[in-house]
């Protein structure tokens, strides 16, 4: 391209861009990173495209709610739909059984309505767009409705329909139980062998891999007392991942670790998310939030991977509500505060979990 134009300056644009990845399910992003989808369209949008290859994603569980399983299921299903090999480890006796609960992708876009607010009517008169940011996503036209599921970067998954058998019987799924082995050596070897298939070299990527580890420090695992061993395992896994075209997602309940360990694990992650349970039938919360009835939990984004760049990713909002639309589709929405009647607004107390723009300042007007 630079040869076509007359050069105005002595700088010339380097047009040799990394080739677009040939493998399905991968997308190139800024700074030469290649993304793979998390399986949740909203999460991909929030993270700026998906999970970058070679990164370690850690999800902090809430011991009171199984929402991390929703994230894992979507992640694993997406990988299987795109024919990406998967390594799954969990502390249960029979991890294969979990594969039966993976959701199936939705076949056509028409099935799922984009209308987030079903009560919204087309009024001729004045429309007040309360919480207007909700409506931004609606105006995007559907370009991909003619593509079939295999070639879509990120599918919507129907959590009520299990994944078809033919995806599960493929040879590329490896399941491990981490409950019984007394130490992590065997697990580490298994991961090394799996990740060797995707080692990075300068040729184009043939396929990417996914590693999903559930509840890594669950108390019923024999090694759960050995905090330094677990940390060393994560460190070596991160090193192996960096060197390969794969993404690892590890979920762990931070309250079961000592505080210093928990901090170390949070620091070692490239992308750090956390899920939180919400109290049931809480009238205060129901008054504060719209859509409380449909919410099942909260998702917080603590850290987003910045690969090949020194510019940190700053998100507009870090707390999202996890909702199941029609009890099938996982959506993440920004928290919307309901109009409050203000009678209780005596103190201005803000917690750190809400959007990054609210700060307790000393200036109160």
């Amino acid at each position: 391209m630079a040869a076509m134009k007359t050069r105005m300056s002595s700088f010339s644009r380097n047009t040799s861009v990394a080739p677009a990845p040939q493998a399905p399910g991968l997308k190139s992003g800024p700074n030469g990173t290649i993304f793979l989808s998390s399986g949740i369209p909203d999460l991909d949008k929030i993270l700026g495209g998906g999970f970058p290859l070679g990164s370690l994603v850690m999800v902090m569980e809430d011991t009171e709610a199984p929402h991390h399983m929703l994230l894992l299921r979507n992640f694993m299903s997406q990988g299987l739909v795109h024919n990406q090999p998967l390594l799954y480890a969990s502390p249960s006796k029979d991890p294969r059984a979990f594969l039966g609960t993976l959701p199936s992708p939705v076949l056509s876009k028409d099935d799922r309505s984009h209308n987030r607010d079903p009560e919204q009517l087309q009024e001729k008169g004045l429309r007040i767009a309360w919480q207007y940011k909700k409506y931004f996503g609606e105006h995007q036209p559907n370009f991909d409705s003619h593509r079939d599921t295999k070639h879509e970067y990120c599918n919507d998954f129907d959590l009520r329909k299990p994944l078809e058998r033919h995806f599960l019987t493929a040879q590329n799924i490896c399941c491990l139980s981490i409950q019984d082995p007394p130490n992590l050596a065997a697990f580490r070897d298994c991961c090394a062998k799996f990740l060797a298939q995707f080692s990075r070299n300068n040729s184009s990527i043939s396929c990417a891999g996914r590693v999903a580890i559930q509840s890594f420090c669950a108390p019923q695992c024999e090694y759960s007392n050995m905090e330094w061993d677990m940390l060393s395992f994560i460190r070596s896994l991160k090193g192996m991942i960096r060197d390969s075209n794969a993404v690892a997602v590890i979920t762990f309940p931070p309250s079961l670790l000592s505080p210093s360990s928990s901090k170390r694990w949070q620091h070692i992650a490239d992308t750090l998310l956390s899920v939180k349970a919400i109290p049931d039938e809480d009238k205060e919360l129901a008054n504060l939030l719209t859509g409380y009835q449909d919410m099942v939990g909260l998702l917080n984004v603590h850290k987003v991977a910045n690969v090949n760049t020194q510019v940190p990713v700053i998100l507009e909002a870090t707390t999202f509500s996890i909702k199941l639309q029609k009890r099938r589709y996982l959506v993440l929405e920004c928290l919307n505060q309901a109009p409050v009647d203000g009678s209780s607004g005596s103190s201005y107390a803000s917690t750190g979990s809400c959007s990054g723009s609210t700060k307790t300042g000393t200036l109160d007007f």
Binding site: T63, E64, P219, Q220, C221, V296, S344, S350
Partner: protein
């Protein structure tokens, strides 16, 4: 609410799901965990006898009380023990947990009880070997529930005792295997929270689907309290307390409930919370920043504000303030409310706005815009 716990245990597990597990936590401030445990045991037993529950039998792993205690307890609480061998068995880890008596005296017969006793109690001597314990529990349970698909419940007298003999991962392993076993309908256990590390308690809470914790009625503050007050607090705490339960529901939400309990001679009574609001919600979100309505006090204060304008908007005839304080003071003394006068007098003493009108021709509140004569 204790009712709903018992109902949850009675209903048991769905196919493919883990069994519901209740953790009862107490501490030295309210040492009534065993009363709650016995209450739950009684309720479950009556449900089993009445045929209402999913489980067909209970395996009680007794660490901290002897089997005879349980026999007597169930008898006094009206549970019919005639056919008890069909629906309850006790694994006796109380009499000789580590097999010391056995090694001292030589081999004895395994059954501690004579055949006349109503409940089958099997002596267990190897509490350090949790695999053996688990298989003993499963064996006893399957004997109760029969060969087919029948299920049974497991109750563990005190997990605290288990921790004395085994490490956290192995106890957690046993409990998770119990929960995930396909013949177990429900399970519940007791633990004393001040005898364990936070990690151990967190692990047990992680493994349970309902956590019931006993708390004292009045959390004593560290302020200056007289001895009499302290005694009365102790008195209150000695018989009563609060029972907080956190349910993990299937939809991923947590239900928090609270009840008062009262220990009487006959047992424990649960009553709904009598005092004011139960739980102070931590608040995941900030409170609103602005307040659109005024409280009563604020409304009164607003009415009292003396506006710096010429007419006060309250129907009084307008008078132009021309810098002579004596006029306003004279007017004020005639007013009926004296306290407000004092206030305004004092206020006028602090700061003054001295305003001399340009001319007396100006009508008050004329509609002319003083900027009209600017030529822009």
């Amino acid at each position: 609410m204790a009712e709903s716990i018992c109902r949850n245990l009675r209903d048991g597990a769905l196919e493919g799901e883990h069994a519901p597990a209740l953790s009862i936590k107490d501490s030295i401030a309210t040492p009534f965990g065993s009363d709650v445990f016995n209450y739950v045991l009684t309720k479950l037993s009556s449900n089993i006898l009445a045929g209402k529950s999913q489980s067909q039998g209970i395996v009680l792993v007794a660490f901290s009380r002897s089997p005879s205690f349980y026999v007597d307890f169930l008898k006094t609480n009206g549970i019919d023990l005639v056919s008890a061998k069909k629906w309850i068995s006790i694994l006796d880890c109380y009499t000789d947990p580590l097999g010391w008596k056995d090694s001292l005296k030589g081999p004895l017969d395994t059954k501690n009880f004579s055949l006349k006793d109503p409940i089958e109690a099997v002596l267990f001597r190897h509490v350090r070997n949790l695999d053996l314990l688990l298989s003993a529990i499963i064996e006893m349970g399957e004997a109760l529930a029969g060969q087919g698909k029948g299920r049974f419940s497991v109750s563990i007298d005190s997990v605290t005792e288990m921790f004395r003999h085994a490490s956290l991962p192995s106890v957690a392993n046993l409990l998770s295997k119990v929960r995930s076993h396909d013949r177990i309908s429900s399970t519940f256990w007791l633990l004393h929270s001040d005898l364990h590390e936070i990690r151990a308690i967190a692990a047990l809470e992680y493994l349970s689907s309902m956590v019931g914790s006993l708390e004292p009625m009045n959390l004593s503050l560290n302020g200056q309290r007289g001895d009499l007050e302290k005694l009365s607090l102790l008195e209150q705490n000695s018989r009563k307390g609060k029972f907080h339960v956190r349910f993990k529901r299937r939809n991923g939400r947590v239900r928090v409930m609270c009840e008062d309990f009262h220990i009487k001679q006959s047992g424990i009574n649960f009553t709904p919370v009598s005092s004011e609001e139960g739980i102070i919600n931590q608040g995941l979100l900030p409170k609103v920043q602005f307040n659109l309505q005024l409280s009563e006090k604020e409304r009164i204060d607003r009415a009292k504000v003396v506006l710096p304008f010429e007419h006060q908007g309250n129907g009084e005839p307008m008078h132009i303030y021309d810098g002579r304080r004596s006029l306003s003071e004279g007017k004020d003394e005639k007013a009926s409310v004296l306290t407000e006068n004092l206030q305004t007098n004092e206020d006028s003493g602090k700061g003054e706005i001295i305003y001399f009108r340009d001319s007396d021709d100006e009508m008050p509140d004329s509609d002319e815009d003083p900027d009209d004569d600017l030529d822009i």
